[in-house]
Amino acid sequence: MAQIMLWEAIQRAHDEEMARDPLVICMGEDIGVAGGTYKATKGLYEKYGPLRVMDTPISEGGFTGLAIGASFLGVRPVVEIMSVNFAWLAMDQMFNSAAKIRYMSGGQLEAPCVFRSAGGAAHQLGAQHSARMEKVFMGIAGLRVVTPSNPKQAYGLLKSAIRSNDPVFINEHELMYNMKGEVPDSEYFHPLEGSDIARSGTDVTLFGYNISVHWCLKAAEILDKQYGISAEVIDLYSLSPLDRAGIKQSVSKTHRAVIAEEDEAPVGVGAEIIAIINEECFFELDAAPVRVHSALVPQPYNHTLEKAAIPDHEDVVKAVLKLFGKA
């Protein structure tokens, strides 16, 4: 197994799929000649040419719709939306066309499209470039939502997303493209549904996805070493559908749950997981589940305010200690 960066893992998945199937194409702003803002499509333009690696105009609504239209005829487009903040402009097509086409055509048409986008708060990018929007995509029937926390997932989820006959939104994180991790040398398809146990434990379950998996892992380490609390970390790489069985199984074992999300709390991932816990295993709980989340503010530019708005592993530790009456 090779250690590669997350952007390289995405690039490799594109490359393998494009080499295999001439109907796999990719498009987005500055993805071709420039190789992509995060290098996720580096070298593909040179290899597959402008018909299949399309530098688009700044027309998110337009090119997303165009990709969806092409997918009706069996083309498999991978659309990069440079930043998830710009996805608002493409959501009409994603939600009204891609997500609904199978249903409203009574199963005649489908939109096997992949939308990839960088989300999350990077450093001081301000209110219009720092959104976490996974909760917006999660509530849409007909759309799958996955979010990688490491290079192996980034590679395997994109591979499966391209093969899948459903539209898939892949939520990446601006700060994670250079993260290194092991990716199998041979072809690998990560399941689009389910969850991974990133660390097993017995006293409390920490639910994370994408970047917050890393806060949870770090918190689990501290809880173990300094407080003798054994935390299980569940990596929810699939946000839609959420893994009900996996959530139930872990909470039934640990009887306590903390959900860490970079997004704001209202109508969010944490709210949804707590609802699932209530529905699946309420009587297993020893304490009310807790959410760790951002402040409900447009992201401030100022560095100190930004840090105050966004949670990290320390907030996860604090939440767990509070749950155990130790803080």
Binding site: P57, H129, L305
Partner: protein
């Protein structure tokens, strides 16, 4: 342009240039964070248009490359720099950053980060002017690549349909980040796209501030006299990368050199020298004075200003509760 105005504009353009170059340095020193988009090379666009308009009276809106537009509208450079430093004394109280300079008092309606976003906002501002019956106009400065957003066309249609007092200024610097206009846009000359909407449009050299001024005067007069929207395309160039992380691999150094031969500041400077209105020594002194002002006042102010308080994190999210009491609770305060 009157000779006194030309001299003043030269001073202003030197300030705009040196201000931006100082931002570059401050970014390297990590005093400024986030995205930083600089204006050098394009100074004649903002200056030429705003000389023909009424800064502080007319409403101006633009994208993320916004520092110079704010200063030209009357913003104190100290407050703009303090914003980039994320300070409480900044234009947007440290909440906005480089891409979001706002100065309502000077009718600078802001910098926006989403490409194309300001188009309909400008038309809306023009709608408000129309309703209120003032003699102001709305001026929307955006780049060439922004015209590929659908909302550009939607806005042009409405602006023409409703005869709104809005001037669209397209600063055509030939690139949207790393994609050249030929590779992103079926029509290179943007004013041609506007013809379909029955909107008056023209194109001119964006490097010579006097040329821009002459064209802008016509455009501003047109809009202010109630004849409806106008689209002015200025052919220009940005010297630096799109933002700080851009190594400019998509264009040649020769191309950059060619454009630097037509530097907006030097064009005006050399014209003033040829006319006997300026000496090279005086120009060099002006540069030094400007740098000293930026260092001793602008940077000093920004360095010494306080940060916003963490307790105020949620300030400005919604209107102050006390003022809204009756509407929030159904009961008078």
């Amino acid at each position: 342009m009157k000779i006194e105005d030309k001299k003043r504009v030269l001073r202003e353009m030197v300030l705009h240039r040196r201000f931006e170059e100082r931002c570059y340095q401050a970014y390297i020193e990590r005093k400024i964070g986030g995205f930083l988009h600089l204006y050098p090379g394009q100074e004649a666009c903002c200056n030429g248009v705003m000389e023909a308009a009424r800064p502080g009276h007319d409403y101006v809106i633009t994208g993320y490359r916004d520092h110079v537009h704010a200063i030209k509208c009357g913003s104190d450079p100290k407050e703009v720099m303090a914003e980039l430093y994320g300070k409480e004394t900044g234009s947007s109280k440290g909440r906005g950053g480089s891409m979001h300079i706002f100065d309502a008092a000077h009718r600078f309606m802001g910098g926006y980060a989403l490409v194309g976003g300001p188009f309909p906002l400008a038309a809306g501002i023009a709608k408000a002017i129309q309703l209120k019956g003032g003699d102001e106009i709305a001026i929307c400065f955006l780049g060439d690549a922004a015209n590929n957003q659908g909302v550009f066309h939607e806005t042009l249609n409405m602006a023409a349909l409703w005869n709104l007092p809005v001037l669209f200024v397209c600063e055509n610097n030939r690139y949207g980040i790393g994609t050249s206009i030929e590779r992103s846009t079926a029509v290179v000359h943007q004013h041609k796209r506007v013809a379909a909407y029955n909107i008056e449009a023209s194109e001119c050299d964006g490097q010579d501030v006097e040329v821009v001024y002459e064209h802008a005067r016509k455009a501003v007069d047109h809009v202010r006299s109630g004849k409806g929207p106008y689209f002015l395309e200025l052919m220009t160039y940005r010297y630096r990368g799109h933002s700080m992380s851009d190594s400019r691999g998509y264009r040649t150094r020769e191309e950059e050199e060619l454009w630097k031969q037509r530097d907006p500041i030097f064009i005006l400077r050399d014209r003033l020298i040829a006319a006997g209105e300026l000496t090279m020594e005086a120009y060099e002194a002006l540069e030094k004075e400007t740098d000293a002002y930026i260092e001793n006042e602008v940077i000093k102010f920004s360095e010494e200003s306080p940060e916003p308080r963490v307790e105020d994190l949620e300030k400005y999210v919604l209107a102050d509760r006390a003022s809204q009491q009756q509407w929030l609770t159904g009961q008078a305060a």
